[in-house]
């Protein structure tokens, strides 16, 4: 594999993490902030997948291939499945908070979350 590619997914993961942080920090809309959190989380998918990838490895499903074949790491995939669920539920819960906050205060701007100040 060309050496340019050796670190590419790691860079992408780091970039996505930062993008998510940037989105949350500068967000003007709470739903936007929640979606940015989902982007931030997707960086962990890219990183986990990259960490367990093996060039030429098959998918870790031995329905059609012989058990002696080299496969990519199944453990990171199991971790990613957990990760996907975590992402979905965090988003669901945060959105519920946003919806409720909107009902009570009529605003979805983080600048209006200021009643707690000081």
């Amino acid at each position: 594999m060309p050496s340019v590619l050796h670190s590419l997914p790691y860079f992408v993961a780091g970039w996505l993490f930062l993008c998510g942080l940037y989105g949350i920090v500068t967000s003007k809309h709470l739903v936007h902030a929640v979606i940015c959190l989902a982007i931030l989380q997707s960086s962990t998918y890219v990183l986990l997948l990259a960490v367990g990838y093996r060039v030429g490895g098959a998918a870790p499903i031995f329905a059609d291939i012989s058990t002696s074949e080299l496969v990519v790491d199944p453990v990171v995939q199991a971790l990613m499945l957990t990760d996907v669920v975590v992402e979905a539920v965090v988003v669901a819960l945060l959105l519920a908070m946003v919806v409720k906050a909107h009902e009570k205060s009529g605003s979805v701007s983080p600048d209006d979350l200021r009643t707690m100040r000081g």
Partner: protein
């Protein structure tokens, strides 16, 4: 082959940036769905069909659906509020 994967990764980085930079929430939901599909494609490509399947169901369907439901509910409230009659839902 590996170059295709690399291109996919770069595309994901760009798409992620685009989702973050989209400030209008309704278009952002669409972008998020597209981004979720790209991720699923990458999972398939890198031999993770299980994760790809959950990513399609969650990342590309369930997640945007939930965001849309949340937005719909907030809009419903706003309409109910602005209509003033308290009947709700009619414009």
């Amino acid at each position: 082959m590996i170059w295709f994967g690399a291109a996919l990764l770069v595309l994901i980085a760009v798409a992620g940036t685009a989702v973050v930079r989209t400030r209008d929430v309704t278009s952002q939901v669409l972008a998020l769905g597209f981004y979720g599909l790209l991720l699923a494609l990458m999972f398939f490509f890198f031999q993770a069909p299980d994760v790809a399947l959950s990513q399609i169901t969650v990342g590309a369907v369930a997640l945007p659906l939930m965001v849309m439901l949340a937005i719909a509910r907030m809009k419903f409230r706003e309409r109910a509020r602005s209509s003033g009659s308290g009947e709700g839902g009619h414009e």
